[in-house]
């Protein structure tokens, strides 16, 4: 048995394949546990974690994507708010909306509201059905497919492209930019090179779109995006709208793709459950919530204590990194009965925090839910039986699955499925 006290969660190569025993080890230490390495405090309690997510006054999101790396400043005094704000320039990772605090976060998030309106979501869902079929057509004759690269990734990419109003003639180019998931967020192998970041290519496209629509407004979604103002009536810089748009691709892809793979993994292994869902499609909604609870694609996120405070039984100094263990919060026995069992009938499955809580909770959650529903509906419609491809993953008693080598992201790197086309 592994000695978890010696494990560095942020570089251990084996944990990503099976992180739950480690989270259970942390939970046994209380709602919050101080890790021996890097001064990080890990939160595993549902109630404690939810309260922190909802307390942006005390806890900054500055390090949400930066994780446990040393801060670019030395925390001083009882309140480090000003230090945080004066150390954002220069590093892309501190300029994403997910890392902003109020009032700047509030202004920026306001720009996104029109995109995620019910009207826009309904239009977008129509596109999803068509898109799903087009992608399935590409491999329906083959009898097998790899769901991450052949379906979920192009699906998620083009759904966001459609949401943002990217013209259809550019969809092919967008798909090519994201032809693989590329470098994983929070890699246990260390940070990736910024020049490999596909989001910079996306940003360049959007700078072009926004400049064009501001010069030549027309009746389309990109014009709405280009002309959306901050709550105070001022027009945002083109670059800011472009990087926000690019961010939506990152946010809308990795997580949705991983959860889609998790869902098919569960259904490929549990054929009786698959049959039950096929016969009663109304179960798909709660199945999706339970999959999100059990296999949240973001297993951990981060917050930075701005002031002196307490979490659980621990005294927290300003500048302390908190690791919000979403994968552990979602299996807190105080919140979820028999938490390690997948129960499609679980009454409170949707209480999970896979989309976070508070001001930074995933604005695209309704979109992700629709995507996952359309994915299952169309795969069920077009394929009579979906199973694990044993030629790629081995026999039922000896499977070989690989997970993203990350301390943030949880999910299969690839999942090969075999199927019989529907009659």
């Amino acid at each position: 048995m592994k000695r978890f006290e010696d494990v560095d969660y942020f570089s251990d190569k084996a944990l990503p394949d099976d992180p739950q025993p480690y989270f259970e080890y942390l939970r046994a230490q209380g709602p919050a546990a101080r890790l021996p390495q890097r001064g990080v405090v890990a939160i595993t309690s549902y109630d404690e974690g939810s309260a922190i997510f909802r307390n942006e006054e005390r806890f900054s999101s500055y390090n949400a994507a930066y994780g446990p790396q040393p801060l670019p400043f030395t925390p001083e005094g009882d309140d480090i708010t000003d230090q945080i704000e004066s150390h954002r320039d220069g590093n892309l990772i501190f300029r994403m909306i997910s890392t902003f605090d109020p009032p700047n976060h509030t202004r920026l998030r306001h720009l996104l509201k029109g995109l995620f309106s019910p009207k826009r979501l309904k239009e977008n869902e129509k596109f999803m059905w068509k898109l799903a079929d087009g992608l399935i057509d590409e491999f329906i004759d083959k009898g097998s497919f790899e769901i991450v690269s052949q379906f979920a990734l192009p699906f998620a990419t083009l759904v966001i492209a459609d949401l943002l109003g990217v013209p259809e003639e550019d969809h092919k180019a967008f798909r090519k930019i994201f032809d693989s998931l590329g470098s994983v967020t929070g890699s246990v192998n260390g940070p990736s090179k910024p020049e490999n970041n596909p989001l910079l290519k996306i940003e360049a496209y959007f700078v072009g779109y926004i400049e064009d629509r501001r010069a030549n407004p027309r009746d389309d979604v990109l014009t709405d995006l280009a002309l959306t103002k901050y709550p105070d009536g001022s027009l945002p810089a083109v670059k800011d709208v472009a990087s926000l748009s690019a961010f939506l691709f990152a946010a809308g892809q990795e997580a949705t793709v991983r959860v889609a793979a998790s869902m098919l993994h569960i259904l490929g292994e549990d054929r009786a459950l698959q049959q039950r869902l096929r016969e009663d499609r109304s179960l798909i909604g709660n199945f999706t919530e339970e999959a999100l609870r059990m296999e949240a694609a973001v297993k951990a996120g981060f917050r930075l204590a701005k002031v002196r405070t307490t979490v659980g039984d621990l005294d927290i100094e300003p500048g302390t990194t908190l690791m919000m263990c979403i994968a552990a919060m979602n299996r807190d026995p105080g919140r979820f009965a028999d938490p390690n069992t997948f129960d499609v009938d679980r009454k409170n499955a949707r209480d999970h925090v896979a989309f976070g809580r508070g001001i930074h909770s995933c604005i695209g959650a309704p979109l992700a839910r629709a995507e996952l529903k359309v994915t299952l509906e169309r795969l069920f419609d077009r394929m009579a039986e979906i199973g694990i491809d044993e030629a790629r993953h081995g026999p039922a008693d000896n499977r070989d699955y690989r997970y993203a080598p990350s301390y943030v992201v949880h999910g299969l790197t690839e999942l090969h499925l075999a199927f019989t086309p529907a009659a």
């Binding site: 995620f116 309106s117 019910p118 959650a365």
Partner: protein, 106 residues
Amino acid sequence: MQITYIESDGTAHTVEAKSGWSVMENAVKNGVPGILAECGGSATCGTCRIYVGPDWQARMAAPTPDELALLEYVEEERSDARLSCQIGMNEQLDGLTVHMPERQYS
């Protein structure tokens, strides 16, 4: 200033409310159960619904088209429903009493 939130089973929660916070924020930051607010106040999730009587509605700004569209999208059927994240707390609303649905999602 106070707000009272009443659960569907009649349990009441009265909080000392802060001006400038929305009715949703005053609930979640005081630990009132029954207001989920999954989207954190962006009017995109419909999980902070409350029911507000006509006397109190008269003292609030009417719902915007966005708020109404979302209430329709989440299939809310009651005409006195509001999104608590879209109602700013102020002195005119001191003593506000609101009711909460049994569940914020189906």
